[in-house]
Amino acid sequence: MDEIDRRIINTLQDGFPICDTPYRQVAMQLGLTEQELIDRLQAFLDNDTLTRFGPLYHAELMGGALTLAAVKAPPERFAEITGIINAFPEVAHNYARNHALNMWFVIATETPEQIQRTITAIEQQTGLTVYNMPKINEYFVRLKLEA
């Protein structure tokens, strides 16, 4: 990744114009040609540098629900518990963390009621207590990682 790539990623994390020639507009801002920007962006998508290029939706406004949940997986059952939890299509992210609460995951569902149903099902299949920590307030952040 060179300096131009880094500038492209940093700029596109701030947003992408909704207008008839958005790539040309961004390219001008970066001092590139439209084709150069398009080629480099396509390369990022081809080599998997980016998760996605497009819109990020507001889950709750879309009618969906999200929560953060955690379990204390006994070390000897860690792989088994990981398998059970990841098999739920409602589980969006799952991270191992260094704490007694050692598995943290995000549950995303179509309706708020399905959050509790998913938690109950995970508790039944794992035999573990699921700690449910839905957000009460979100404080605005810039959501940008400097490349």
Binding site: T51, F53, Y57, T82, Y131
Partner: protein, 167 residues
């Protein structure tokens, strides 16, 4: 709030924007909408906040962000808003939330810091503690050890908000 054509559009563009000179015209061509209609609808959906952001979503690991810490504090309820507002102004903070306390888990303020390595994250946390006056509160730092699963939440027109397992 949303009509059928909005839903059709949201479902289509979630897979990603076309990488070509006239991306909104291409989206329109696929949906039998004019380019102007696509631009007008997307602009409105963004203004209403249904589209939080348009742009790139990066893979942390690919950019060298290997240390990911969730820091939780137990702060008095009447200070959460003020402290959350202060914490979220630091550029290295990627998420900041108030969440409910649990039995055996008294923490109510959460933030995430993504950094190149642990030492950097811990130095940033120290900066945050001092600047926001957080040193006196109980806290825990949970570094991630492994990411097992990461996928975007997926929207489907028929059911509203849905999901898809991308592994």
């Amino acid at each position: 709030m949303l009509d059928d054509r909005d839903r059709q559009l949201l479902e289509h563009v979630q897979q990603g924007l076309p990488v070509c000179p006239k991306p909104y015209a291409e989206i329109g061509a696929a949906l039998a909408m004019s380019e102007a209609e696509v631009i007008e609808r997307l602009t409105r959906l963004k203004q209403k906040g249904l589209i939080k952001r348009m742009g790139v979503i990066v893979k942390h690991q690919e950019l060298g962000y290997r240390a990911n810490a969730m820091i939780v504090w137990n702060v008095p309820d009447n200070l959460v808003k003020q402290l959350g507002g202060h914490i979220s102004r630091f550029a290295f903070v990627t998420l900041c939330y108030q969440r409910p306390r649990q039995a055996e888990w008294p923490y109510n303020l959460y933030c995430m810091i993504h950094g190149k390595d642990r030492a950097t994250v811990l130095a940033q946390l120290e900066q945050l503690n001092i600047a926001c006056g957080l040193t006196g509160f109980d806290r825990e730092i949970l570094f991630s050890r492994r990411c097992f699963k990461q996928r975007g939440a997926i929207y489907q027109r028929e059911s509203g908000f849905s999901r898809e397992n991308r592994g």
